[in-house]
């Protein structure tokens, strides 16, 4: 099978059951020659499970798989590689302190000659692939030096070097900037003249732009399959969620609230020692949402951490409802009414090995509501957790479930439940819907707007322009630790924001 082209990949009646969950329910799909199939569906719809079955990572309970009409049975990912199927996972599998060349050589058994690795053959293979597909990579760069987009390109080259003629991409754009996403889409389009691709996503504009066919999964079932061109994004979104989708939008008049949070001339160092924020100024009022747009890595992380006491500043002032909070401890900042939805929800926003119940009181174990004389009021905490589970639609068997085993959307709801029910005066949200499906994203956006109506000031840090445009009253664009420009909601458009995010100052 080594060098034959994959003209057709067919799965028929694939069923896979996990305890209590039907992950794949009688799935049948066909991907033809040089075709791009977009596989869409909400989190937990069974997209990744299906791909893992195709790659031989899981064994299906029933059902068959055919390549070019012949039945195949993959026992491990190696069998799938041999058949010419390659997958780029959501998490990149690269060794950071090795070069691109070495990383690719790791997977290429053909260049291993006993204890000696034939790096030259790998290099020529990389050059060949780069030229053929226009995938520019520097074989001698170290992985840690590369941006996320470049790392993804390395993953693609790696997969292609292994001889893949059929690519599976699991949410390839989830960590990319808008520009990188556009580049990737152009690239994949070009590649489809040589390859077949299955493309997992829940961003419908990408699906529209890229795919020939679309298949929608819901609760492990294919609920729809058709030509992408025949359907609008809205149609697909409705079939994906199973109900009408309302885009959450902030249509209310901007209120003139009192200044809630003011930072002036702020200088904060990054972990690597340079100034991530350089004389940074920002003001957010009570009852407004300020969207901070920018490509990640321009100081957003440092700003959020500084505002919440997790990072010290070198100079500058930080006034919060009239009191200075610069370089105070996280505990003091929380006590003054700050809420924070952190970027890394799985490791920072929750204690993964503790239960939902315990995570809900992370910031309030000392409050008189949940404890007296240092003794926790277990009954009250349990009732509170039950209430939060139903109010915030946290889907979990019970309150004593470990938070780390929840899905991303449910983890975010746990964090949101904790932050909102504390009745904060201000909320810092970092990438609140990154990696979430449309249902969860919509829910979270509605909660944020409700907070705004109640007079809470919100700083929304995001890369998704659509999210920022829909929710914000004012939009500030950050570039290299400085504010490029602050725009009123009705003055801003996507194109202009994109230009500002790229560092071009417009002088009007």
């Amino acid at each position: 099978m080594e060098n034959t082209e994959i003209r057709e990949l067919k799965v028929r009646h694939i069923t896979k059951r996990f305890p209590g969950v039907l992950a794949s329910d009688d799935i049948s799909l066909t991907v033809g020659r040089h075709e791009i199939l977009a596989l869409v569906g909400e989190n937990g719809a069974g997209k990744t499970t299906l791909m893992n079955i195709i790659m031989g990572l899981y064994k299906q309970d029933s059902g068959k798989m055919f390549i070019n009409g012949e039945e195949v049975n993959f026992k491990s990912p190696n069998d799938a590689f041999d058949a010419g199927i390659g997958m780029v996972h959501q998490q990149y599998m690269l060794v950071p302190n090795m070069t691109v060349l070495e990383n690719i050589a790791l997977g290429m058994k053909s260049c291993w000659k006993g204890t000696w690795v034939d790096l030259d053959s790998v290099r020529s293979k990389i050059n060949e692939i780069s030229e053929k597909y226009g995938l520019v990579t520097d074989p001698d760069a170290y992985i840690w030096q590369l941006s996320v987009g470049e790392q993804q390109r390395v993953e693609l080259v790696k997969t292609l070097c292994l001889g893949a003629k059929f690519l599976i991409l699991d949410e390839p754009t989830s960590a990319l900037t808008p520009q990188e996403t556009d580049e990737l889409i152009i690239l994949l389009k070009k590649m489809s003249s040589e390859l077949s691709i299955i493309f997992i996503s829940h961003k419908l504009n990408e699906v529209k732009a890229l795919s020939h066919k679309v298949a929608i999964l819901r609760h492990g079932r294919v609920v729809f399959e058709g030509n992408t061109a025949d359907y609008s994004s809205k149609d697909i979104a409705e079939m994906m969620t199973g109900h009408k989708v309302n885009i959450t939008e902030n249509n209310e008049e901007q209120v003139n609230g009192t200044p809630a949070l003011t930072v002036k001339n702020l200088c904060v160092k990054s972990d690597r020692g340079f100034y991530a924020l350089d004389h940074f100024n920002l003001e957010v009022n009570a009852g407004e949402i300020v969207g901070l747009a920018g490509v990640s890595g321009n100081g957003q992380r440092e700003l959020a951490e500084f505002l919440n006491g997790l990072r010290k500043c070198e100079s500058g002032t930080y006034t919060f409802f009239g009191t200075s909070l610069a370089n105070k401890t996280p505990g003091e900042i929380i006590a003054s009414g700050m809420g924070y939805i952190p970027e890394e929800r799985n490791v920072e926003g929750i204690v993964p090995s503790m239960t939902i119940k315990e995570n809900l009181i992370l910031k309030d174990s000392e409050s008189s509501r949940f404890s007296s004389h240092k003794i926790l009021k277990n009954k009250i905490i349990e009732n509170y957790a039950e209430e939060m589970m139903s109010r915030f639609d946290i889907r979990s068997p019970h309150i004593n479930f470990t938070a780390g085993s929840l899905s991303g959307g449910n983890i975010q709801k746990v964090i949101l439940a904790r932050e909102i029910s504390r009745k904060p005066r201000f909320l810092v949200c970092v990438y609140p819907i990154r990696g979430l499906d449309m249902g969860a994203a919509e829910f979270i956006h509605r909660q944020l707007l409700e907070l705004r109506t109640n007079g809470v000031g919100i700083l929304l840090i995001s890369e998704e322009l659509e999210e920022i445009m829909n929710l914000s009253d004012r939009i500030a664009v950050i570039f290299k630790g400085k504010i490029q420009k602050v725009l009123k909601k009705n003055e801003a458009n996507t194109k202009q924001l994109g230009i500002l995010m790229a560092g071009v100052k417009d002088d009007e």
Partner: protein, 362 residues
């Protein structure tokens, strides 16, 4: 009900570990020319031969339990206290020094005073690595092990010079016998079990409540489970690290005091009998749960007591027990990998629990 299978999974994994350790131990016994079944039979049956033997096991459980409880606190807070041995030595020194001045005091004053002295000394000695870790990020593995050496030498110095028994003419370094008012009474004539077991049982309850019912325990567990998330949640992680090390040290110190006052009656070299290290194993064996420390220390009490019997009844060297203990440590550490493996857990559930919980098997 949901967590039930997890509990059974842990129990069966630990039971398997024990079994593997026994099998590995069998090879060691064979290698030294012993009789495997006879040796194991002595280890298992001797404690239950009569009440006095059982009391011997209980007596060994006392320091094991108290130290393991302290380890539960420190490990749950994310700091590995390998220094229990040293903290125990410091506890012995302090309580011995206090006890020797307690002759005139009534028992109900002297005994608590000596135990508190031991606890404070242990806590102070636990504070050092805790502080170094919290403020200067010094690895606690390094500092606690090094402080063990220092404590051992300090202890030897004390029983040779300041605490040396003036009536001792043979030159054996040891303190004077403790005055009667500072000795923990025995419950039964001729059996070694002493009042320290009451303290051990009270501490089990105290540590359980501390860890699972108080805000302090909650914060310590949060800090241990995810330092970053705890920090984010406004928990003063360094503070709780230090507190956890002090509690851990206080437990070890108390264990030293109780061993001195209940068993030995005077401070002499080798008084800790390696309890500081065995206690760590007990805590791991109990999966860091204070209640589970009781059965775990019972198992290790049996093992330790068997050293005596093996010496009397067989040709097998008693050090064998230490070998078996070493094997158990290795296996326990490896077993953590299995316990934390969700796939193994899932398989276990499928195999044994699917029918009972009403889910249909495919």
């Amino acid at each position: 009900m949901m967590n039930n299978y997890k509990l059974w999974f842990k129990i069966s994994v630990i039971a398997c570990a024990f079994l593997i350790a026994l099998i590995a131990g069998a090879f060691v016994i064979l290698a030294v020319g012993g009789n495997v079944f006879e040796t194991y039979w002595i280890i298992i049956s001797m404690p239950f031969r009569n009440f006095r033997s059982l009391c011997e096991v209980f007596t060994r459980m006392i320091p094991l339990t108290i130290i393991a409880l302290g380890i539960c606190v420190s490990s749950r807070c994310g700091i590995n206290n390998i220094g229990a041995e040293g903290q125990m030595y410091m506890g012995v020194v302090a309580s011995c020094a206090v006890a020797l001045h307690c002759e005139a005091l009534p028992k109900f004053v002297a005994v608590p005073l000596c135990i508190i002295a031991g606890a404070l000394a242990g806590a102070a000695y636990g504070f050092i690595p805790g502080f170094l870790k919290a403020k200067l990020e010094v690895s606690e593995l390094l500092s606690t092990v090094m402080l063990n050496y220092a404590a051992t030498q300090f202890f030897l110095f004390c029983i040779r010079v300041p605490l040396l028994d003036p009536n001792e003419k043979t030159g054996t370094p040891m303190s004077s016998r403790l005055p009667e008012s500072a000795v923990l009474s025995k419950f039964f004539r001729g059996a070694s079990l002493h009042q320290g077991i009451i303290l051990a049982l009270i501490l089990v309850a105290v540590i359980y409540v501390l860890l699972f019912k108080t805000t302090w325990g909650y914060k310590m567990r949060a800090a241990g489970a995810s330092e970053r998330a705890a920090n984010y949640g406004g928990i003063d992680v360094p503070f709780y690290l230090i507190i956890a090390m002090c509690i851990s040290g206080a437990c070890s110190g108390m264990a030293g005091a109780v061993e001195l006052m209940g068993v030995q009656g005077r401070a002499m070299s080798g008084i800790t009998s390696g309890y500081g290290f065995s206690g760590i194993v007990v805590a791991l064996f109990a999966a860091l749960h204070p209640i589970a420390v009781i059965p775990a220390s019972f198992c290790f009490g049996i093992l330790l007591y068997s050293q005596v019997n093996l010496q009397i009844l067989t040709s097998v060297p008693p050090n064998l027990v230490e070998t078996v203990q070493g094997i158990i440590i290795l296996i326990i550490v490896s077993v953590q990998m299995v316990i934390n493996n969700p796939y193994a857990l899932e398989k276990f559930r499928k195999r044994f629990f699917t029918k009972k919980t009403g889910l249909t098997e495919v």
